[in-house]
Symmetry: C2
Subunit: 248 residues, 2 copies
DNA sequence: CCGCGTTGTTAACCTATGGAAATGCCGGAA
DNA sequence: TTCCGGCATTTCCATAGGTTAACAACGCGG
């Protein structure tokens, strides 16, 4: 994998992730990297990149930082429906629909590429494996969203939180953002509550419980998993849906 | 819209649905219909069309009948993560991932087209608007799945059930399966409970409540919405995410 | 005709989770 | 240094929804 120094480092997560999902040809990787570097943007924490109802005319790829997708009911109840982690793509092909159904907000400072639709379409037309990679990304997103449905609908509070921790950990791992048994976890308990469908108070109780059980440590925006097997088992976590391992 | 008699009737829902989502050229519609008619299958109620973990090598399009997507935890808790209604597509592009993350089971007798991957790829390569239509379908699926997340995570029981009724009703409407203020609703209360994340008992209580409020009638697998506005308002339902109305 | 399995309904009881509010902690602005 | 706002934590109480169990209605096979 060639390096372009600092800039090359930026596209690192994306390339690495795609290579797990759908191996890229040398040319495809180069074209992708080139396109990304031409379209760099940054945002601070707490910025809305898209708002429910917006029309979409570009594809965003996250190079570093965390974002979340969320929806809000008229009376203010909010659900975080997914996180977007480094290397992941917001909305490939979302420009085909008239308007987006949810908002996307940064949780941390974020670096991202914003590729305008014509540029994006040119890119995937010239490199078929890239088109397939983005399709994989979309299909995978769908699968993750379904797992969230069972998480929200059928798991108990402790299982929900444990499951979220497992999932994030396993999604960060392939892009090299797990260090030993720790990873960044830059979300407030309020966000965590909205992601698991719990109240803040009960979320806090649940985290205490996970701590008391010796499963995790969570402080200063850093998650440490003390016993991954036990955590997975407490979460009824099975990683198949993440499709992290290549066929064959 | 041309008719091919009975067989043309079979593809009717699909064409009609795509025309709302992403208008098809005359040629595209004809090619799609032709492909569908070459690959007809039928299944009885309660059959598993795909099972979690299966590799996928074809695309299925539902011509008539209901199916549902579901996932099950090790201990048997089940979540229905979505329904698949006439005119909708299972798994466009799912063949790009090594294995499917959920099961698909028929709720009623079903007629469907099962298009093998090479045939499907040939089809979408020859007709760009078809490729886009299937992409729309996938993106829309994603949006619906997100709405289910907020439904499961943040709505109260009555709101959940009301919301599900509204959604199904609005999804059936564009394919002509709504008759006045009624539609088929061929699912047991157990299924409904698994779709809303409730227990059967509480789901039953909730339905009684909706009946008592004069909002719906539900018997003999038939749903009648007595006051659509009131139901939508009770559900905090806003239909934007369904993208039922064309741009411009 | 009977018996059985599936589905819907109701009741009684219980617990996981929600809601409101107070407290503490910490870091940043002035 | 002090004040303030965001976040985490805890306590106390309320309740929506889960669990178990029993029963009725219905369809179906024998």
């Amino acid at each position: 994998m060639r390096s372009h120094g600092n800039e090359g480092g930026l596209a690192h997560a994306v390339i690495r992730r795609f290579n797990v999902l759908r191996p890229l040809s040398e040319d495809a990787a180069a074209a992708l990297e080139q396109t990304i570097l031409e379209a760099l943007f940054r945002a601070g924490p707490g910025e809305d990149l898209t708002v429910e109802g917006d029309p979409i005319d570009s594809v965003r790829i996250v190079l570093s930082g965390w974002l979340f997708r969320h929806k809000t009911l008229e009376d203010g109840r909010r659900q975080i429906v997914n996180f977007i982690l480094p290397g992941e793509t917001c909305d490939a092909y979302a420009y085909l629909l008239p308007a987006i159904d949810h908002s996307i907000t940064t949780a941390t400072p974020v670096a991202y590429a914003e590729i305008k639709r014509p540029r994006f379409e040119k890119l995937i037309e010239s490199e078929r494996t890239l088109a397939e990679a983005f399709l994989c990304e979309t299909a995978l997103n769908n699968a993750i969203q379904r797992e969230w449905a069972i998480n929200l609908g059928r798991r108990a509070a402790l299982e929900k939180v444990a499951h979220l921790f497992c999932e994030i950990y396993e999604r960060l791992r392939p892009v090299g953002l797990v260090d030993g048994n720790s990873c960044n976890f830059p979300v407030t308990q309020m966000d965590l509550a909205d992601a698991t469908g719990l109240s803040v108070v009960h979320l806090n109780r649940t985290i205490q419980e996970l701590r008391a059980a010796g499963l995790i440590t969570l402080r200063e925006r850093m998650l440490t998993i003390l016993d991954l097997d036990a955590l997975k088992s407490a979460a009824l976590f099975s990683p198949g849906y993440l499709q992290l391992y290549r066929r064959g």
